[in-house]
Symmetry: D2
Subunit: 445 residues, 4 copies
């Protein structure tokens, strides 16, 4: 059966690359993946999957860092203009751009796979040295670019959908394909978890092109070392006053923010492991001689464990509240992203290794069992949910030659990884079917 | 002779108002007053004044807070498009937009008058309640507006020019009319002083519409309490780094700026009089998870005396340098404006009072000898220069009903003050001719 | 009658000097003036005054900056050892060391005089160049010294008491002599006001030896420009932890205090007049490698007006509370002293001038009507109370050659000012009797 | 041969305990171990060791955190009073209190052992519950206490000296016993290394009573995870001024220190491993209303590696210098202690395990091969030196029931560990003689 898959995958390579380039031309940032998601949903439906959309896929109340209604509406319009399905898009109103497709094949385990869809807030390079521009598929959406490879992830996910649909008669159990919005800013996974997208999952796979596997043919089977993180925006509101004539009448939001920034960085180290704090942006004030009534901080905390990140964000909240108190200004604190720490299960990473071992595409010397991410990925929220239920999960890195680093305006990857990537994920589903029956011992169930 | 002046002034009222509205429609901010200055120069030449332009009027090396070459060129083009004289404008290249007109009438004192020409960085209100919009003379230049009344000052100055030219045969001594760019940000007076515009002046007059004389018919004859001030931009340049993966590789410009902002405000009070410090704007950073490599502070110091402001700015420089040292970042500190403290001479304020006393326009109950500005005006630099040479100076406030406060998008003044304003200044020239011959005892000569 | 007074005063000079030297040998700091006050009370009783002591003179609940019970008891014992009256001292238990003596002479105005009694926390110089040491009357109490001249004030007050008692038959109205503890740290006046010591006063006199009248024979009749002030101690309490092993378990009081200190100094200037903030002392921490659980700040605010000081202290409270909140530590804020702004009444200063004019002792060229203190004195609280009731007050400076500045370990004054000082105050009482009858129009009555 | 040693050690137990109690009664802090070192030197001489003292044992120029000459002299006097040898003590003038004893036994490896001698700055508990007080050997030196067990270390070292001297005929190679001053504050090891005390060493042993082996019979054979550290004192010197009258004349050392403290804690985390910063003490200021001219910070940095600590201390120096620059005050920065990171060699830890395995005293279940210290110990400097030369080293922990934690006023250990401890170290020397001949491959030689 798996020989068929190799053949099938090879046969769809051209189409996968076309699809990837179409998505690359029309990138959409977090919570605005209307066109992308509508195309995903349409493809899943066409392939015979049951599709969950809108509030069935994303819990509205859990969404963080959402654009305004006006912005969302403008993006919906653009998505339609660029060929998205208006009816499907309407069902995603409010930024509910997650999609879940399910293929039921009788009794057996539930195997889920997650693919993230969003692009970055970045202008793409526009010169001949950059292949997407040279070959005509550079972003047409100003300020947005697929600079992390999520366009490839979507395409691989749709490839998996087709491969497995073609093999349906020979499968058992359930395959669930989760297309997630808003991985950037670690925003999308939580609301999909809260909407039940991971309920009942026995095996969970996710992955990323490139990153710590920067050569085509490389593979990391089980990534660990996800850092827990919280992203936040702190807005201070004070009172303007003439800085020369009546400074005492002002309430200085700039100084509150400056004081907060310093003291946030002075939150103590944690004796149990690595912690991080970053105030990446501070914008405040209106005029040279006006006591500044406004200030915005964009920040994030991280922790080697969720407990350490909780410590960091807890202290950060105290610092921000204290700074506002100190200057008599108001504080609006918005949590705009969140993820936890985590680690792939070696048993499932072994499934990936076995699947890769059967494929010529992968360089045996470049296949690694485990590696630490030392970064944040909200896949960790899904992983934690599945592990909490008693299931297993793993996150792989699919090697690909990179033109430049992730989040760089010249990022591009080697499209040769797409079809083998789809085949690898599909083989993993088959591999899970061969695992010994698990007595589900969910901690939380 | 003065009766003629009243009549002459009344006769030119309609023209003054037309001119003011023309200027109001085409406002130009500091160092970009190309159209305005070319029209002033042309009018002075037409009235028989010797005119100094370009480097003869403004010392290039003394200019602070100058836009880039590109910006200046764009403004020159616009000025020509809007009817400025191309040849005159070419002579002002680089932002040398000051103009000095001189009328020589034989032996006698040199009496100078200063009129400022620049507009504010502000979008003008665009609704029917705002007269300039309703009557069709609101600003056509986006982001720029005459919101402080300098359009009126220019028109009064040109009125004075005509009035005195018409009386030339009956005058003695020299009349010098100084049209200054860049009063906003206290930038233009210094470079004109350094170019010699105040050399040899015995009597200096300047003034402002409105402000502390907010009713038509009011008049303050001698303003004091100018605050010395320094405006500065501090740019910190550090090194970006990934805030999660390698924070130690960064050099944090945001924290340097935040630390500077706090400690600038902690500069001690001064035992000898009022001091001020303001960090009005702080912008720093690029992304939430990037160690910020960039930060900009816009600030200003003030002092009741020049010595106090010097103390404040001296300490501010130390704080800024210390903050850069602390964070290992580079500091570029630009002084973008500067003025001194000062006080009008009562003898010359008395000349204003006598001149006003002879005019029906002014309400005797509304004429005040002296008042403190409690703000900054770079006229103080000219005043200090003249007083240093042994001359006298005064700064008056010409009452005018105001539609809204200065620097407000709805600012407008009562145009009825224009012709009497011109007549008042012209009368002051005559008044000076009647002063007892001064034995010039310049401190600096 | 006044000739008698001159003679009487001259006659008591030797005794005044002896008394001053006795007090100088046994100085007592704020709230510990047990020996001094007991001697004052005994002398007033002996001279026929009605005397109020203890809670009749000082309101316990209003006392700020009071030593501990143990310290007070130790000082009481020492006072007895050094010759204080045990019974009187017992009535002052708790630091109630104020004394009020009243001489009732029938109908007429109530004239009050205030004399402060406390010494400074300072070791007196112990070398031959310092007269008190050379002549054997230097302080025998370690760490305490009369370095401000209050020993002289007490002696003058007792001189006044005797002079007026001797003239009792010729007086009318009431004379009230107020001997105040704790002027240092502006602590004693408030509790005496609250105990009613100023009730019903028509005329109030106070004064100081030296200061802005640093030559014998000089006199300032009416001092103004008292700065309002608040003195405070802020104690931060956190949690200690090993700074290497478990820094996250600590709550850092040192950083809370450091942050408070910086931001206290960043409280904005006030547009209506001079303000001051001082964090004079910061002590924090236990060991190099222990997260500091303790920190103490000693600070003060000042204002040209009481409103400005209230603004400063109000903002200071916010900063302190915010810093505690920021670091999750507890804050105990103790107000340890307080005074208001104020200004002498010219009508009463004129009484001083007339009294001085009749005495040969004063140098006519050295007598000045008014001068600003530019410092704080809690006499201002008594002055405000009397003025609020509709009465008048003045604060004089009695010139005296000084060996060194006030609060210096080598401070000493010219004892020749003592007898004339007493005569001057006594003459002022007589002068008040000659003032036209005042229709009391108390604001607060 | 080793049976003899057990017997010998048991025979000396009573004497070891007496010696320990003698040392405990007369504790001496870093660089003042005059009495202790003179007794050590005398004992080593008596046992036939060649002894190096003074500058032959300690490099004066490398000494950090040394008391003043006056303090050292006072301690020398006390040491003599308490029974130290005056001649030996004289040779230690200046705090050169290290002692090296060498026993040459022909060809063979050089085996060194390090024992630290200093006590803590702490008042010992004085109540019946504390055995040293109850049994009469509590500290008689105010403010100093053996609260870390170094008294036991010295006694063990002298026991080793006697045991090996008794076996001299049967030994080969060289035994070198290093008695180090100033381990507290990580001050003594560096100057002994610099004096050559570790030159030529093939095998190095060191150890500590208690700590991570808190039960008698436990043993850790090879400790790792020493944290690199730098201890520093930063003294800021400014200018005092009256905070009310002339704050602008001051230079505020308190604010410089406060600013430094905050920004020291804001030094970024390090991506490569754990880092620490601690400002444990901040003392500043003189009086509430005086601009503070003085401030002292006591701090330390740490790093999981020496490179990380170097990063931390390098940044700390920048912060301190920047804070001084910011406030225009002088900075005197003194490095008062320093150590590096490190890890015991497993081959030598195995020697310890074998030695312990032959002794009934140790509980086999309580013997652990390796453990991380997660603290700092300047033994790491000696270890690094030996490893750099191509030798091996290990640091053991000798289990002992503890009455309270280290550095606690109630600290006491179980003296039953002393004789077995000496036997263990002596056995290790024998164990090294059995190691296969090492081809010395020094990295640095």
């Amino acid at each position: 059966m798996t020989e068929d898959m190799e053949r099938l995958a090879a046969g769809m390579e051209k189409r996968l690359i076309e699809r990837r380039r179409d998505l690359h031309r029309c990138p959409e940032a977090a919570w605005t993946e209307f066109r992308t998601a509508s195309k995903v949903a349409a493809a899943l439906m066409a392939a015979g999957y049951e599709v969950r959309l809108g509030e069935d896929a994303v819990r509205r109340e859990s969404m963080l860092g959402v654009p305004t209604e006006e912005e969302l509406s403008a993006h919906m319009e653009r998505a339609v203009t660029q060929g998205g399905d208006p009816d499907l898009i309407e069902r995603m109103r409010g930024g509910l751009t997650g999609v879940v497709g399910e293929l039921r094949c009788g009794d057996g385990p539930v195997t889920a796979m997650r693919f993230d869809m969003d692009a970055n807030d970045l202008d793409e390079a526009r010169d001949q040295a950059h292949r997407p521009f040279r070959e005509g598929f550079a972003s047409v959406n100003p300020g947005v670019m697929h600079a992390c490879g999520h366009d490839g992830h979507v395409v691989i996910g749709l490839g998996v959908a087709e491969l497995l649909a073609g093999l349906k008669d020979r499968l058992h159990g359930t395959v669930r394909l989760i297309f997630q919005p808003g991985e950037e800013g670690v925003r999308g996974a939580g609301p999909m978890v809260d909407a039940g997208a991971l309920d009942g999952v026995d095996y969970l796979f996710g992955g990323h092109i490139g990153f710590r596997a920067p050569r085509t043919g490389q593979l990391v089977c089980g990534v660990g070392g996800f850092l827990a993180t919280t992203k936040f925006d702190a807005t201070f509101s004070g009172v303007a006053a003439h800085a020369g004539a009546a400074p005492e009448q002002g309430r200085n939001a700039l100084l509150a923010a400056a004081c907060a920034a310093l003291n946030l960085h002075a939150i103590p180290r944690h004796g149990q492991g690595a912690s991080r704090i970053s105030v990446g942006v501070l914008n405040a004030g209106q005029g040279r001689n006006v006591v500044p009534p406004n200030a915005l901080i964009k920040g994030e905390t991280r922790g080697q464990t969720t407990a350490i990140n909780d410590f960091m964000y807890g202290r950060a909240r105290e610092v921000l509240a204290g700074a506002a108190r100190m200057y008599g200004v108001d504080l609006a604190l918005a949590e705009v992203g969140r993820s936890v720490s985590g680690r792939s299960d070696p048993e499932l990473a072994a499934v990936v290794r076995r699947a890769a071992g059967a494929m010529d595409f992968f360089d045996p010397a470049g296949v690694i069992d485990a590696m630490d991410l030392r970064g944040s990925e909200d896949f960790a929220l899904m992983l934690a949910e599945v592990q909490h239920q008693g299931g297993l999960g793993t996150y792989l890195m699919l090697g690909s030659d990179l033109a430049a680093g992730h989040h760089n305006a010249r990022f591009d990857f080697d499209e040769r990884c797409l079809a083998p990537g789809a085949a690898l994920f599909a083989r993993c589903v088959l591999g899970c079917m061969e695992l010994p029956g698990r007595a589900r011992t969910a901690q939380g169930v």
